[in-house]
Structure formats: C-alpha cells, structure tokens
C-alpha cells in the first residue's frame, strides 16, 4: 500500500474520546438550577407584565387627572353662575319655607345643578381613585418582584 498518498485518516471518535476532551473539567450544575431558571423566567415575565400595566395606569391617571382638573374648574365656574348656592342657603335660613314649598324648591335645586359637568367631574374622580388604588397595588407588586429577583440572584452565592 502507498501510505504517502493519504491526506487524513478517519477514525471513529469513540475510540479516543478521553484523549481528545480529557483537558476539559466536566461541569456539574448545582442542584435546583433548573427550577431557579424557570422561576426567574416566570419572575421576569411577571415583571414585564406589571411594568406594562403600571405604565398604562400612569398614562390613564395623567389623562383623568387633566380631565378632573378641567371639570373642577368648569364646575366651580358654572356653580358660581348658577343659583345653587343661594338656593341651598335657604335650607339654613328658611327651613320651614323649604318644607312648605319642597316641590318647587327641589325642582329649583335640580334645575341649577350643572348636570353634565357634575357627571364628568364625578366620573373622573371615581376613575382617579380607582387608578390611584391600582397604581399603589401594582407598585407594591413591582417592588415585591424586584425583591424576589434580587433575593434569587444572591441566594446561591
């Protein structure tokens, strides 16, 4: 046989595996690493979701705060222009007349209420309170998740 003409020789890897990779120290993963990774992935997913919701709540809060401010200014102006204040003062100055003419008094009060502005004001107030509650809850959740992530990061050291 002419060995000079052979460029390389194919040999099954199995035969000298230990010789080839012998210099690499085998890494043994710590116990519970997989569950930690999965837990961390879950926490990151939760963190992303909470951050997204918190952003939405803050944007809605800014919108409703602006609406609340505008409705408050308009309501104050319309209430000053309407006869609501003087009519209500009759309850204290002339309670007997109020009771005697209760139907006309009630209608005059109802006619003086700036209904639509009061509706917008009450609605924006309700939404503001709801959003403040949600922001506080979600901020608490965010802090709790960040704390869990930090705890997990340092607990194996």
């Amino acid at each position: 046989m002419h060995r000079q003409g052979v460029l390389f020789i194919l040999r099954p890897m199995q035969e000298d595996k230990e010789q080839t990779f012998g210099y690499i120290n085998p890494i043994r993963p710590k116990r519970g690493l997989f569950s930690r990774i999965i837990r961390r992935l879950g926490l990151e997913e939760k963190l992303r979701s909470v951050k997204r919701n918190l952003g939405l709540f803050i944007a809605a809060f800014i919108f409703f705060a602006a609406l609340f401010g505008a409705a408050f200014v308009v309501l104050k102006q319309l209430t000053a222009e309407s006869n609501l204040g003087p009519f209500l003062s009759l309850i204290f100055s002339d309670p007997q007349a109020v009771l005697k003419y209760w139907d006309s008094f009630a209608l005059s009060i109802l006619e003086s209420i700036p209904g639509f502005t009061a509706f917008v004001f009450l609605l924006s107030t309700a939404f503001l309170l709801l959003l403040i509650r949600s922001i506080i809850l979600y901020f608490g959740k965010l802090l709790s998740i960040i704390k869990s992530i930090r705890k997990q990061r340092y607990e194996h050291k």
Partner: protein
C-alpha cells in the same frame, strides 16, 4: 339544590345590586327628563312672550346677538332657564310684577300674589317693601307666559 346556597351565592347578590343600579338609573333618567321638560317649556314661553313681558324684541332693535338662554354651552349643551326659582337683583317693580336680572344677565318676570311669603332677616315683608336693587331669592312655579309665580321670596341682606 339547596335553596340557602342559591340565596347566599354571589350571583344572586350581583343580580340584586344590578337591579338596584338599573332602578336608580331609570329614576335619575326620569327625573332628568322632568327637569329638562320644565326648563325647556319655561324657556320657550319666555321667548314667546318676551315682547309682551319686556316690551321689545328679544334680539333688540338692531338684532343683538342671542342671550345665553338659547345659547349653547360647550359643557352643558342647550342652556335653558330655571323655571322654579331665581336669584338676582330687582330692576323694576310694577304693581304685582317684579322684574329680576339673574346671574346669567337675563331678566325674569316674577308675579307676586297675596299668598307669596316675603322674608327679610327674621321678619316678613309686604310686597310694597321690595325696592329696586334688592337681591332676592325666589321660589315658585312657572306659568304659560314665561313668568314665575312666586311662592316664597327671601330678601338678602
């Protein structure tokens, strides 16, 4: 099925609350329609009888712009006048008729009858005691001529 469990279930409570809310909404809607009807009817009569009540066309001799009574507010929609009460300054007294200028700068005709109760401080007044520039609160009922038949008048100090 146990009737106690059904009665105590959250679904039943939600249904009851929903029915209460619907009843409240229906009541509020009905009240709004009633108040709107009175205001619209009074504003219509006020406009129809303006010439007779105030002695001149509502738009003035040279066609002055419309007043707020039939104008449109950005927040409140069509601005109709209160039909059952007014707070304003007396600008003219003519027998049983008193003309008042309200906070909206619109004049209203108030009719004083023998049954009208007029109070100032803790005492009562006669209709002759009313003076021009007195600030008064009137509670009453509208008539078909766009006037308010006064039941009670409080003269402000």
């Amino acid at each position: 099925m146990n009737i106690n469990k059904i009665v105590q279930s959250k679904v039943i409570i939600v249904i009851i609350v929903a029915i209460f809310e619907l009843a409240f909404l229906a009541g509020a809607f009905n009240l709004g329609v009633r108040v709107g009807y009175h205001k619209a009817r009074f504003s219509y009569a006020w406009g129809e009888y303006y010439d007779r009540n105030f002695g001149g066309p509502r738009r003035g001799i040279f066609g002055a712009p419309e007043g707020p009574a039939f104008g449109r507010s950005a927040f409140e929609g069509p601005a109709f006048m209160n039909a059952h009460g007014i707070f304003g300054s007396v600008i003219k007294i003519d027998g049983d008729t008193v003309i008042i200028k309200g906070a909206d700068n619109m004049e209203r005709v108030i009719l004083i009858s023998g049954e009208t109760q007029i109070n100032k401080f803790k005492g009562t007044l006669r209709k002759e005691d009313l003076k021009v520039n007195d600030k008064i609160i009137v509670i009453g009922d509208p008539n078909e001529q766009g006037q308010i038949i006064a039941k009670f008048i409080r003269v402000m100090p």
